[in-house]
Amino acid sequence: MIEIRFHGRGGQGTVVASKILADALAKEGNFVQAYPEFGVERRGAPVISFIRIDDQQIYDKSRIYAPDHVVVVDPTLVEAIDVTEGLKDGGWIIINSDKKPADFKFPAKFKVATINATEIAVRNKLGTLATPIVNTAITGAIVKILNLTKLETLLAAIGDAITVKPQDNQTAAREAYEKS
């Protein structure tokens, strides 16, 4: 079983990212469970969401406290909160950032990857620099880095789920995949 936690901000579609990932993984026969933080979401305020992946029925309905990996959709959060809380040793921290992994000061027991999803998104006309829509791009990176599923499956899942500018979203995901 793999458990991943997403960090983002209200209004950034963090849940959509985990949902798309779940769709893609389910297409390949996995069992998945994706859920948002259970609370009040306000645009701009820090939010989290989760995904559990397994090759058999997932019975555990309790919350995820010790994820295998974390994904940070909004880079500013790295300063604001402790994104490594509960993260398992050896887990990946995948950050949407234009910085290099080494620029982040995380304990060595974690692996760090960065992807400039914002840049990719904006270039693909997904939102503006102030409010980029990065959720599809970031899934491309996750799938690649964690080796979760084939790119094609992810792109198909994006095609199913996204009704506004599906192609641009797919392109963004592909670019992120390729850059990761």
């Binding site: 901000r9 209200g10 306000r42 645009r43 701009g44 305020a45 820090p46 500013t76 300063e79 604001a80 620099l129 102030a130 409010t131």
Partner: protein
Amino acid sequence: MKPKKEIKKIVFQSAEDMPTMPMSIGNMLWNKTGSWRNIRPEIRLEDCIQCGICWKFCPDMSIEIEAEWPVVNYDYCKGCGICAEECPAKCIVMVEERK
């Protein structure tokens, strides 16, 4: 900026410490909503005409008056941009928050 009564978030360690009724015993100032912001208002006081409109329309009580001039309280300003939009002197600009 005038000193704000700094209030910590109250976290109870036991049921006994809690009030019987579901009832507030502290305020929300621990919740620094400045962290929600992705754009921040900056006031160019040189152009300010002291009209008080930014203060009047800030939904988050984050324009404070200091010695007759408007000052943004970044601890709480959520970055809505209303002050900039409404300033008749157009002397408030919204700039991108930390990149």
